[in-house]
């Protein structure tokens, strides 16, 4: 890690981690940063990056190599998400969805046929996936979902709508969660299935370099073999735990990007005859950011150890997602302030990250929901039931 690493976490990494992160860091600098502002302004996803990311091995980092993954550990996955989001939250979101929300459920709950059919293609990005859980009227409360499946002679009939689905319009395969006899089940819905459409949502002021879609199912027939072997909300929630883990790391990457920009700016911007970094009020902001980023990195490193040892709980992941995303958003706002008027320009990465992080604060469990998950853990009382 050539970027901010105050407590020398790099020295705790293996050769493999260092090698990959150095290589990915170069990739972010050379392939992502020069093009991302333009895509953000235009509201387009940089599709030219997808195959390059697949070649690097970004999709399915923790999935075994026999299925096309990299067979690496959660620490590797976390470090990779941090680097990608140092580029842009949209790129990290793409990787989170493909790996944690599509490959993970197929690997974990899929049949051998489903795994062999989809995982290698998802790893190579020959196929793109999306994950449909959230609905227009059910966000924090997914148990209330209206999308439902009815058993037919040859499979299932799916009806309903999903919203806020990253990569929906691009996807060849959608993991869709729907109620079958009142219980949540997961279905693989292939692009082109009659009755399935995925229009893109427009008008976002955040995650502009990411495709966000609706998924609409009207008497959509799903073959028998496309159901996942899991029932109940724990299916989708287990996927979200994976993705949220990656987000906890990713947010630190965004924070590093805005912090480093603020450091550079405060050393070169001259006011009253000296760099603004010479002023105590600016130094306090920089010290605050470095402190918060370093704390978040230490949380992530320990969380990775727990994940790799199989000892992480969803509450640990909620803690990290909640803390780190809020921290990153705070850093982005502070960095914007340090950059003054320049902070709103696309010449600096600050406003883009600030706008993105508003989404990251809300998606994959809002900040408040993660607060309540911790509240329930502490008191034993669930506030949202």
């Amino acid at each position: 890690m050539k970027n901010t690493d105050f407590f020398d976490i790099k020295s705790l990494l293996t050769e493999e981690h260092k090698l990959f992160i150095d290589s990915l860091s170069d990739f972010v600098d050379i392939e992502i940063l020069p093009v991302i502002e333009e895509h953000f302004l235009e509201g387009t996803y940089p599709s030219e990056l997808t195959l390059k990311l697949a070649e690097l091995g970004i999709f399915g980092i923790t999935i075994p190599q026999e299925y096309g993954g990299a067979g690496a550990d959660y620490l590797m996955y976390g470090l990779a998400m941090q680097e990608l989001e140092r580029g842009d939250s949209a790129i990290r979101s793409f990787a989170s969805v493909q790996s944690s929300l599509v490959m993970y459920p197929i690997y974990k709950y899929g049949s051998e046929n489903q795994k062999n059919k989809w995982l290698p293609k998802l790893a190579s990005a020959e196929s793109i996936g999306c994950f449909g859980l959230t609905e227009p009227d059910f966000g924090s409360n997914p148990a209330g979902m209206l999308t439902n499946a009815v058993k037919t002679r040859s499979g299932y009939l799916l009806n309903g709508a999903k919203m806020w689905i990253t990569n929906g319009t691009l996807a060849d395969i959608a993991i869709v969660w729907a109620k079958l006899d009142g219980i949540v089940h997961g279905f693989l819905v292939e692009k082109g299935t009659p009755g399935f459409s995925a229009p893109e949502m427009k008008g976002k002021h955040s995650l502009r370099a990411s495709v966000t879609s609706e998924l609409i199912f009207q008497d959509c027939e799903i073959p028998e073999e496309n159901i996942l072997n899991i029932s109940g909300l724990k299916g989708p929630l287990s996927c979200l735990t994976q993705a949220r883990y990656g987000i906890a790391w990713g947010a630190v990457g965004a924070a590093i990007a805005v912090y480093e920009s603020a450091v550079e700016y405060s050393k070169t911007r001259i006011q009253f005859g000296k760099p603004i970094g010479a002023f105590q009020l600016v130094q306090e902001k920089l010290a605050y950011m470095l402190t918060e980023i370093s704390k978040a990195q230490l949380i992530n490193f320990r969380l990775a150890q727990l994940m790799d040892g199989g000892n992480a709980t969803p509450q640990h992941v909620s803690f990290a997602k909640r803390n780190n995303v809020r921290m990153a958003l705070d850093c982005a706002r502070i960095a914007r302030e340090i950059h003054g008027a320049n902070g709103i320009l696309s010449e600096y990465p600050v406003m883009r990250h600030a706008a993105n992080l508003e989404s990251v604060l809300t998606y994959e469990g809002t900040h408040d929901i993660h607060t309540l998950i911790l509240g329930q853990h502490i008191t034993g009382i669930a506030a949202y039931e």
Partner: protein, 247 residues
């Protein structure tokens, strides 16, 4: 094809280096080391050749045990196996002697090296290795084509290009532009852990040269700001010519 690629561990060009206490070596403390950038072109060319014609790519380096790091990078990029010859502070002759001793027993069809390592820049090893093996050597190559046992190499020369022909086995030293080196891929990084690195002790050979001292550029080279009068312009030209010696 049996391919050998010579690689070297060098300080990252973005790293600030300091001279060690002995006054004739780099102090490694806090220095980030990387695979020599010119060797990346050499390795990439070797890998492409193997991907096209089949065969085996061996990466070799000479240095301290820490040099294993860059062999792992080479293995992660796609080399099949690697050789570490352990030896410190060797001169170009000793390095070339050890590479050629290794190569003699292996019958490599082609040997690649970077045109120079970016730490000491002597640029002697590739040609020395070729001479010791008595095989043709083409240096500073920016484009390469191999047809059967014939090799066509393009080199940038002052104001133009030169195309040379030689037959295999041959040594080729790589210039920037030869190719676009790949990023190591994560599945390959994971597989690299299991690839073999053979470790040998350097064979003794007498050094032909020895380092007497090493020093950093003078700090006295501070910037001068002059005006835009004719006299000032004459002074700028004079100091660029006589002091900075750049024109």
């Amino acid at each position: 094809m049996n391919i050998l690629v010579c690689v070297s561990r060098v300080p990252d060009t973005a790293t600030k280096v300091f001279v060690g206490a002995d006054g004739k070596s780099i102090d490694p403390k806090g220095v980030k080391f990387i695979l020599n950038p010119y060797d990346e072109f050499a390795l990439e060319e070797g890998l492409r050749l193997k991907e096209k014609n089949g065969g085996n790519v061996t990466a070799i380096t000479i240095g301290s045990p820490e040099a294993t790091e860059i062999l792992r990078t080479a293995l992660a990029m796609g080399a099949d196996d690697a050789v570490l010859i352990k030896g410190d502070n060797l001169d170009s002759y000793q390095v070339a002697y050890n590479i050629s001793e290794h190569a003699k027993a292996k019958n490599y069809d082609i040997i690649f090296a970077g045109k120079q390592s970016v730490d000491f820049d002597s640029g002697q090893v590739p040609s020395l290795v070729a001479a010791m093996l008595d095989i043709p050597s083409i240096s500073v190559v920016s484009k390469l084509e191999i047809n059967g046992a014939t090799l066509l190499a393009e080199r940038d020369i002052e104001g133009g290009k030169e195309v040379l022909e030689a037959s295999l086995p041959c040594l080729v030293s790589a210039q920037k532009g030869l190719n676009e080196p790949r990023y190591p891929k994560l599945p390959d990084i994971m597989k690299a852990k299991k690839k073999p690195i053979e470790e040998l002790d350097a064979k003794p050979a007498d050094a032909k040269v020895s380092v007497i001292s090493m020093e950093l550029p003078s700090k006295e080279r501070v910037g001068k700001i002059l005006g835009d009068s004719d006299a000032d312009i004459s002074e700028i030209v004079r100091s660029l010519h006589e002091e900075a010696k750049v024109i």
